[in-house]
Assembly symmetry: C2
Homo-oligomer: 379 residues x 2
C-alpha cells in the first residue's frame, strides 16, 4: 500500500490571549531512520490524563467548534487562574494522546525495525492522536498475532497504573487497599490483579449497577458511597481487610478524607493499633485522577499518621526503576485480553473529537464510559 505524503495530527495550544485551541494540522510524513518505525495509528483511547493535556485548566462547558470536517477548530476561553497555572505551556503546540496501537508500515534499515513491518504494535509515547507516528522501534510493544490494534490500544496507562497500585502497596508495607470509581476499566483490571495476587481490595462505587458488576466479577468487598450507611460499611471492610492504603480517582470533595476517617475508626477497634494521638500506622491516600474537580476537603479527624498526595504513573515508574517497569510491561503483554481487557462504549474519529457536543460527552468522565479514537476514520 502506498503511503501518503502528509498526515493529520491533533495539536492543543493555549494562546497568549487566553484561548485554548485544538485542531488538526497537516504534517509531512517522516521517513523512519535506523532504529525507527512508522506506525499507522488505528486505535488510541481517551484517558483522563489525555484530557489534562488536551484541555488543561480550561472550563470546557462553553467550548465551541468553528469550521467543519478536517478544518474543525475547538476553542474555549481560559480564566486568569487557568492562565497562571498553564503559564509554562502558553504558545506551545502540544501533541496529544498518550498511548495507542496500529500497524507498522515502514521501518529503518536495521534488522529489528524491519522485522516489525506489518506487525501490530502498541506504543506509549505521546502524540498518538495522529494518523501516523514515527517512534524508536524499542519503544513499541509487539502484540501477539491474535491481538488487534483495538485490543492493544490501552496497553500502558490503565494496566500499568493498576499494577503500580499493587507495587506501591508492597513497597510501602500495606496489607490491603481501597479503590474508588472502582467499576471503571482500571478498577476492573485492579480486581483481576488483586484476585490473582491474593491482595484484599475494598471497592468503592457510587451506583448499585456498578456494585452488581463488580460482585458478578467475584469482588468480595464492594461498598456504595450513595448508601446511607456508607461509612459503617466502609469501616467494616477496612477493619476486615486491614487496608491502610487507598487510590482515589475522584480527587475532589470529602471522599479521600472519608476513607482516612474509616481507617481511623477501624484502627480504634484494636487498642494496640491506637495511641492518644490516634492510630499509629501510617494511612495513605493517593489521588490519581480528578473526576471531581471540586477542592479536596480533609477533616483531619484521623490522628497524626496520614498522608494525601498525587500519584502520576511516569513519576512512579521513574522512582521504581527499569526492572520493575519491564516486569509490569511483560505481564501486560501476556495477559492483554484477560486481566487487562478494556471495553469501549464509543469509537470516534479525530474530527468527532473536536466537536463541542462530543467533547461534552467524553469530558464527563462517567464511570463505565470509555472513548476510543480511530485516527484512520473520516479523513
Amino acid at each position: 500500500m502506498a503511503l501518503p505524503a502528509t498526515y493529520k495530527q491533533m495539536l492543543s495550544t493555549v494562546t497568549a490571549d487566553a484561548e485554548l485551541r485544538l485542531e488538526l494540522v497537516e504534517k509531512d510524513l517522516p521517513t523512519p531512520k535506523t532504529g525507527e518505525i512508522l506506525v499507522r495509528v488505528e486505535a488510541t483511547p481517551i484517558n483522563p490524563s489525555d484530557l489534562g493535556v488536551m484541555f488543561g485548566w480550561t472550563d470546557m462547558d462553553k467550548a465551541t467548534t468553528s469550521n467543519s470536517g478536517a478544518d474543525s477548530v475547538l476553542s474555549a476561553s481560559v480564566s486568569p487562574q487557568g492562565m497562571q497555572v498553564m503559564k509554562a505551556r502558553i504558545g506551545q503546540n502540544l501533541p496529544v494522546g498518550n498511548e495507542g496501537a496500529g500497524t507498522v508500515v515502514a521501518a529503518g534499515d536495521d534488522d529489528y525495525s524491519q522485522s516489525l513491518i506489518g506487525k501490530t504494535v502498541a506504543i506509549m509515547g505521546g502524540g498518538m492522536y495522529a494518523q501516523y507516528r514515527c517512534v524508536p522501534a524499542m519503544m513499541a510493544l509487539p502484540l501477539k498475532d491474535e491481538h488487534s490494534a483495538k485490543d492493544g490500544a490501552s496497553c500502558f496507562v490503565n494496566p500499568l497504573t493498576a499494577l503500580s497500585m499493587v507495587e506501591v502497596l508492597k513497597m510501602e508495607g500495606h496489607k490491603a487497599l481501597v479503590h474508588t470509581a472502582a467499576a471503571s476499566n482500571l478498577g476492573q483490571m485492579l480486581n483481576r490483579i488483586c484476585a490473582a495476587d491474593g491482595v484484599d481490595l475494598v471497592n468503592i462505587v457510587r451506583k448499585t449497577e456498578q456494585a452488581d458488576l463488580l460482585k458478578a466479577m467475584g469482588a468480595k468487598y464492594v461498598v456504595n458511597s450513595s448508601d446511607d450507611d456508607f461509612m459503617a460499611q466502609l469501616t467494616d471492610a477496612v477493619h476486615e481487610t486491614g487496608a491502610t492504603l487507598a487510590f482515589d480517582a475522584t480527587g475532589g470533595g470529602t471522599l479521600a478524607s472519608d476513607i482516612l476517617t474509616a481507617m481511623e475508626m477501624a484502627a480504634a477497634r484494636t487498642p494496640s493499633d491506637y495511641s492518644i494521638y490516634g492510630s499509629t500506622k501510617h494511612k495513605q491516600v493517593y489521588i490519581y485522577g480528578g473526576l471531581e474537580v471540586a477542592p479536596t476537603v480533609l477533616s483531619r479527624s484521623y490522628g497524626f499518621a496520614w498522608g494525601v498526595g498525587a500519584f502520576l504513573l511516569p513519576n512512579f515508574l521513574a522512582k521504581a526503576g527499569m526492572d520493575v517497569a519491564a516486569r509490569l510491561r511483560a505481564r501486560v503483554a501476556e495477559e492483554l485480553t484477560t486481566t487487562f481487557a478494556s471495553n469501549y462504549t464509543d469509537e470516534i474519529s479525530m474530527i468527532d473529537a473536536l466537536q463541542a457536543e462530543t467533547v461534552a460527552k467524553y469530558n464527563a468522565k462517567a464511570t463505565g464510559e470509555k472513548f476510543l479514537v480511530c485516527p484512520q476514520q473520516g479523513l
Copy 2:
C-alpha cells in the same frame, strides 16, 4: 525538706455518657526504685499537643468549672462525632502534660540516680501536670547549673520539632522551607536554627507586628498572609529560595494549598522544572498543628508531584532513629537559653488551668501567647 505523703495530678477523662472531665486527683507519693528519680515539677508548658490530650475533639467553648480550689472540675459535653473519634480513650483517666522541668528530690539506690539529687532536670514523659513525677533517671536531661526549671520547661517539644523540620528537609532532599505561624516560640527557634545552619526559610505570618518581630531577628523572607499581594510575595520568596517543603501549624483552611500553589507558580518560571503535568519536583506540606480547626481545603491546581500529611514528633523520632534523636537532644541542652529560649506570657497554677475562663485564653492558641503551668503554685 520532708516530702509529703501524697500529691496532686491532673487527669483528663471522656466518660461513656459523653462528658469530658479534667480534675486534680490525690495520689500516693511513690518511692523511686533503682534507676528511678522523683522530680518535684516546677514548670511545665501548655503546648498545642497537650491541648490535644486534655480536650481531644471536645468543643471547649461551652466548658464550665464546678467546685473550687483543688476540687475544681472542668467539664464539657462531647458531640457524637467527637465520641466516635475518641472511642479508644472513653473511660480512661489520662495524665496530661508532655514535658516539664523540676528538682530531683529523691532517687533509687544506684549511683547515677543518686548523683542527680538536688539537680534541676528536664523530662519528656507525659503526666507532667502534677506536683511530682517519678521517671527513669535515664529519661531526664540534667540542665546546666546556671539554668532554672523555667529555662528547661520547654526543652523537648518545640526545640526537637524545630530541629526535626531541618532534618526532614535534609532527609527528603529539599533546598529551603516554608513555615507558617512563623512568629511563634517554635518559629523563632526555627529562624535561629536556619540562620545557624545556612538553610533558607520563608516565614508566613498573619500580622504586621509578627513580621516586624521576625525581621528584627534578622529573618530574610517574611510574608504576611493578610496582605493583598500575599500570593505574589509568597511565590517570589519560594522562587528565590527554591523551597519545596513546608511545615504548617494552622492545618485548616486553604493555607497548605496556597503554599503548594505558590511552589507550582514558582516552578513554572523555570521551564526545565516543569512538564505538561506540572512541576516535576515533589512538593510537600506537613501539617504539625491545628490552630485552624476548619477542614484543610486543597485546590489541587499544582500538578501531580505533591503531598500533604500529618507530622508528629514521636513518629518522626522513631523513624529517624536513636542516633539522630541523641544528636538533636545534645544540641538543645547546649543551646538552651540561646537558640531554644522560650518566652511565656502567663504563668498559672494547675487550679487556674481548670477554670473555664482561663481555658478560653490558653486554648485560643494565639501566636506569641504561651502559658507555663507551675504545679507547686496554689496547692
